[in-house]
């Protein structure tokens, strides 16, 4: 059974992602302990809230996550994905984990477009064949809630989504993958992604 560490900052809803991974057959450890993270086969960085606070919470685990990412698959979800990138311009400039090249940027304000980008939108595959997206169609509906977007090169972009502008909704560099949406809130498509991460990545 795959042991998946879900990093627990003590904030937000971790129950849904835990149950989603368990459905995929994972043994989930909700943990804030570097030793436990190190002992697992996969790491999930969930995330709600602001980038700077998220990175502060992550600081005690930063070194171990960076090291483990050379060895095991890592999945960042929403803010967790944004923290995989190099930097964020959310309330100042802040450094991220730098596992995926790119920056987190603020949506430009455009009349008629509300921020946060909240609700169901489509992801469109930019590169075929990644095991995380196994069994999914060219376009699938998933649930988003975010006010900042990931700006990455096309080489590290598995999927794009369009809201105000086209942005990276699934990214990958090596073992590090990130999804801007919430797979644990995206019904069957989301559960398939969590299953793919657990079994195929």
């Amino acid at each position: 059974m795959e042991r998946v560490a879900v990093v627990d900052y003590g904030l937000g809803n971790l129950r849904s992602v835990t149950r989603g991974l368990e459905r995929a057959g994972a043994a989930v450890r909700l943990t804030y302990d570097p030793a436990v993270v190190q002992a697992c086969d996969r790491i999930v960085l969930p995330g709600v809230g602001a980038f700077r606070e998220g990175m502060e919470h992550l600081r005690p685990l930063e070194r171990v996550i960076r090291e483990e990412a050379r060895r095991v698959p890592v999945l960042g979800i929403c803010l967790g994905m944004q923290m995989l990138l190099e930097s964020s311009e959310e309330h100042g400039t802040h450094r991220g984990l730098g596992l995926v090249p790119g920056a987190v940027r603020s949506f430009p304000r455009v009349r008629g477009f509300k921020v946060p980008h909240m609700g169901w939108n489509t992801i469109r595959a930019e590169q075929p064949g990644d095991p995380l997206l196994d069994g999914l169609g060219e376009e699938e509906y998933v649930y988003f809630v975010h006010s900042y977007y990931a700006d990455t090169g096309m080489a590290d972009r598995l999927c794009s989504t369009e809201y105000i502008l086209p942005f990276a909704s699934v990214v990958r560099r090596g073992n590090a993958r990130g999804v801007q949406f919430h797979p644990e809130k995206s019904g069957g498509v989301g559960l398939r992604i969590l299953e793919n991460f657990t079994e195929r990545c």
């Binding site: 849904s16 509300k114 909240m118 609700g119 169901w120 939108n121 489509t122 989301g190």
Partner: protein
């Protein structure tokens, strides 16, 4: 290739008392009608984009029941869940989110202590704080309030009301909507007491005015009775999402009926 666009959300709301579903008309005359998780699962199958649980349990000893309901819902359903009712502090919010809710909705407590919105947004993120705003039309002249033109051409203003619509506050609804956005709310859930429970449709003038006044999403609530009302709320009312309770609850319409109707009229919805 489909068109990539953020879809409009259809959100069933379940009123819950001591762990059981109820639905009141104008918040009076409640009827018990079952297990909230089962009902939410049915809405999920129909294509609901989110579900709202509104806890109307009055007694403090009964309030723990909602946590168990949220946990069961989160274990079985993988769609966004908002929980409102009686939330007064960041500790309350932490408990609700931890149980498996994605967003919390605050209402009276935010009017009485607006700093709750900022504290909650800072602790948990803007995206999970919904501010529910209940409003009532006020025809008394008020030079500092934002005028809203009614369908008949008359002008009035809308006043924020609390405690389930019972208590007028003197606060201008538009000003309050802007303030909650500035304090860090991620969404506004707007209910007009003029239309709530009537099945005559949403209160479109105030819905459009609030939606244009803020940069965050607005959910229209109160008064939906038939298919056209959903369209009107989204198109004329400019809402980003529509919430309904009794039309879904009593099976008059399914979420799927609504989505098929909206798609037929060119409104983007998730199939």
């Amino acid at each position: 290739m489909g068109t990539m666009v953020l879809t409009k959300r259809i959100i069933p709301c379940l009123d819950i008392k001591e762990g059981r579903v109820v639905k009141g008309t104008n918040f009076i005359g409640l009827r018990d009608a079952g297990d909230p998780v089962e009902l939410a699962a049915r809405y999920n199958e129909q294509g609901a984009d989110e579900v709202v649980f509104l806890d109307i349990t009055a007694s403090s000893e009964g309030r723990g029941t909602i946590v168990e309901v949220i946990e069961r819902a989160a274990d079985q359903l993988f769609l966004p869940l908002t929980v409102g009712g009686g939330i007064r502090s960041t500790d309350d919010i932490r408990l609700i989110l931890r149980a498996g809710a994605d967003k919390v909705s605050v209402n009276t407590s935010a009017v009485e202590r607006p700093s709750l919105i900022r504290e909650a947004a800072e602790a948990f993120g803007t995206q999970c704080i919904v501010v529910a705003i209940d409003v009532r039309r006020n025809m008394e002249p008020n030079p500092i309030a934002t005028p809203v033109t009614q369908a008949d051409g008359r002008s009035c203003w809308y006043e924020v009301v609390t405690y389930g619509g019972n208590r007028p506050t003197g606060i201008d609804a538009i000003a309050w909507a802007r303030e909650v956005e500035a304090l860090g709310a991620g969404e506004v859930l707007l209910t007009s007491m003029e239309t709530d429970g009537t099945k005559d449709g949403f209160d479109l003038p105030i819905t459009a005015k609030v939606s244009e006044a803020v940069g965050i999403p607005v959910v229209a609530s109160g008064g939906v009775g038939k298919l056209e009302h959903f369209y009107d709320g989204l198109v004329i009312g400019k809402a980003d999402a529509v919430l309904a309770a009794s039309v879904f609850h009593y099976g008059e319409l399914t979420v799927r009926d609504v989505k098929q109707y909206l798609a037929g009229r060119g409104v983007p919805v998730r199939p």
